[in-house]
Amino acid sequence: MKLKKQTLVIIITLLAANVSFSQAKKPTLMVVPADTWCFENGYTQTINNQGVIKDIPLYQMALQRNSDLALVITQINGLLSERGFSAKDLSAELKKVEAKAAEQELRASKNTGAEVSETPVEALKKTAKADIILEMSWAINDNGLEKQVTFILRGLDAYTGKQIAETSGTGAPDFSSPLPLLLEEAVSSRIDKFLASLQTTFDGWFHKGREINLGIRVWDDWGYDLESEDFGDDELGFLIENWLNDNCVNGAYTTMDAEATMMNFEQVRIPMTYERNGRIRGMDARTWAKGLSAYLKDLGIINKLTISGLGEATLYLGSK
């Protein structure tokens, strides 16, 4: 009996601890080689995208043929893991991309039979759903006697496209160390600066809110549009902007496009957490945009909410 009571006390304590430590949603990270690095090392494919010739990086080929790349990715992943972030593995994510690509190949336009145009980078970002892409590249300056490594590591917010952390520089000239050692040194000597700038960004998120993108679209069979004045004392577009003013952290957002059938908002600052039934939970674009969806529903507008990762939400007005 006594043991049962003790077990109960332990369970209650653990539950209470869980409630008090519920926190903001952790962004996912993934290390990828930069396009320029892929191009310089020949891991690209030239494609004709509707008349436009361009080079696209082949990550799979790069991983299979360049052992230094795997070394650098593994080292960065390890250092991130030491600091509490488990980065997604590029090669594992590429396998998901392959599966997705197979599905995409079967898709064609109803009218013209045209295939969907998508670069592997877009596909990667879409499938991997990493919130932050760590893009790195290096170049070797070899004068025949000494070698020097120039290393660049950038953190890109996948949804806003903004550079949120960076470090770069050229190491000391070396005539004896092998390249893997020079690369290892380049990463270890720069990672602290990089993670410090990443932490500054995270601090900014907690202070000013997480930046997301929001899109509003209208189904073409809906009888209204964003200029309709049937839902309140102003046009629907302005009613939506009023809601954003009230619900963004410090009312911060930027209206990028405002047309009759679509609106795009960027730099929309949403809180990192919210409270529900006395519990603090992590906020993401979907949870936050659900509030707008409910508001529109109250106005009598049926809508559909879709998301892309933690940081991008789109609302389709008119039907589900």
């Binding site: 030491e82 509490g84 972030f85 990443l198 992590g282």
Partner: protein, 175 residues
Amino acid sequence: MKKTLLFIAILFFTVGTTNAQSRRNKKKADTETAKWNYDIECIGEAKAGVYTLKVFSILRDESIARVQASKNAVHAVIFQGINAQGTKCTSKPALARSPNLETEFEEFFNIFFESKGKKDLNNFSKYVNVIDGVTDRIKVSKKEYRIGTLVTVNVALLRKTLENENIIKSLDSGF
């Protein structure tokens, strides 16, 4: 009998002198610590999370150079950050995210940097390894010397400790 008494007296005198010397050294070290009078030069980073630094401490007494250099190195890593040194060393940001950290946690850092005698097994010394106690020695004034000391600082371990003590935030705090 007389001999025994003499021996005991000499023994007490020796122990007393050693203790007094030790106290004087501690006092000297703490006085020098309060000044934080030093310069840091980055030598390199042998592996991730371990910095190799050359500390130039301005001191009146060379005997406390090792201890003082250790304190100064840890102090610089926590509060000042390390400047870049050409191509051999990149700049290292300070572990402190706030410029007021030292005053906010004054009590903690007073204990952290306290000298406890010759061996100085206090907190700060756990993170420093003195490679060369005196590499340079320049007389800068009538009584003061600029003494160079080569040390390594285990920044990864130091960061972990400060995070666990809730002095600084970890990268994943809040998530």
